[in-house]
Symmetry: C2
Subunit: 246 residues, 2 copies
């Protein structure tokens, strides 16, 4: 058996998220369908670095699978792309050791949340950015973001409907900066993230940027460990899983 | 009766073009549906600067309509936007004289064709750009474009299935330039355009940029007046009706 690691982008708009769900169009299902066809009907399962929610995009999601087919490593991307729908694109395929595991071996993940920060909406970016018409105080947001960096119990940023026990994660970096094209981008890099954690952090930073919440409240919100103290979850379509590092 | 002029953007991806067709989702139909609802079921028709094909986008399409409702001018945009689907957005609404006509009074139209010019595709721009993986010779394209500028019979750039008699139009400007974000943009400004004219010009410029056709052939193609001599029609999704000037 050969183990293949693939780096994949997808536009989350038309998917019910990453993970297979009965009767729904999901990223995993589309990829497994194509792989199974390539293996003449023998079911092939893929293992990703983690799931993404409905509407969330990926530029550099990673998954692995095993195969008995004898295809050169870079050919896998080409073969898959020729059969995948046009909202999924494999950037790269490479042989990895039997030991490699796309979920267990993750060292860092980077997410980016794109905000369209101008008075007028842009319908051409409506599925990739969250529109914020009012001005944001980026200095306040960056001040608050500094309190998130580090190793903490992030229960305050975890959606209620999860059964993960250990809520300690490490955030290595958060920055909020103006891009060109009227966008403001929140970059967040961490060891891993709880369910909806990035979107809840984004929602809380937005309240701080709009002066609905003081930036020095962030440390207390984390320490309190109560989801109720953080702000509303930002919508999924502004979020992109940017990169996974092993 | 009050005459209202509206400037409208739409994402052409999910429409069967601008113009009403029985049983199809079109831009005109969606806007007229909302206006008719606002007028308590009395049919309201809109008149645009011209139609756009299925998949073609608009940033600054213009239409007019007449109303007996007593609503302040800038309120029309807000009222319409609150009821329109999220792939249509009215930028501006203004009162105009009874004499104004969105089609007959057009002085200039600007179209832009967006090419993604890099080896890798970008699935997040797949519905707004045409992907061209090989390098383009912009100098050759600009040289050929200069021959298009002026007043000519443009039969060579007109789709066969049209019944327009007079095929003389004036092109004021064409330029092909690198934008940031790996895009190359073809800007074309003219008095008006024949059916699929911009897309056929784009296809011909692409063949020149790829050295499949010599740039000095352009003048002869126009003079010959034969659609067969021009290149294939570029796909609709790279094209945006940028601006209409009155």
């Amino acid at each position: 058996m050969t183990k293949i690691k693939c780096t994949v982008a997808y536009d989350g708009t038309q998917f019910h998220g990453y993970q297979v769900q009965p009767g729904k169009r999901t990223v995993q299902r589309e990829i497994e369908k194509v792989l199974t066809r390539m293996h003449h009907g023998r079911t092939v399962k893929i293992v990703a670095s983690g799931r993404t929610d409905a509407g969330v995009h990926a530029l550099g999601q990673v998954f692995h699978f095993e195969t008995m087919l004898n295809i050169p490593e870079e050919r896998w991307a080409m073969a898959l792309n020729s059969m995948l729908p046009d909202d999924i694109h494999i950037w790269r395929s490479e042989f990895v050791s039997d030991q490699f595991h796309a979920r267990y071996d993750v060292k860092k993940k980077e997410y980016r949340y794109r905000l369209l920060t101008r008075p007028e909406p842009d319908l051409f970016r409506r599925t990739y950015t969250m529109h914020v018409a009012q001005p944001l105080d980026l200095a306040a947001m960056n001040q608050a973001a500094a309190a998130v960096v580090g190793t903490h119990d992030f229960s305050c940023f975890c959606a209620a409907n999860t059964n993960v026990k250990d809520k300690v994660r490490t955030v290595y970096h958060i920055s909020i900066s103006k891009a060109d094209n009227d966008e403001t981008v929140i970059r967040i890099i961490g060891s891993g993230f709880l369910y909806q954690m990035v979107r809840i952090i984004t929602g809380t930073l937005l309240d701080i940027g709009m002066h609905k919440l003081e930036p020095d409240r962030m440390a207390g919100i984390i320490e309190g460990g109560d989801r109720q103290n953080a702000s509303a979850t930002a919508p999924p379509h502004g979020l992109t899983l940017w990169q996974v590092t092993y």
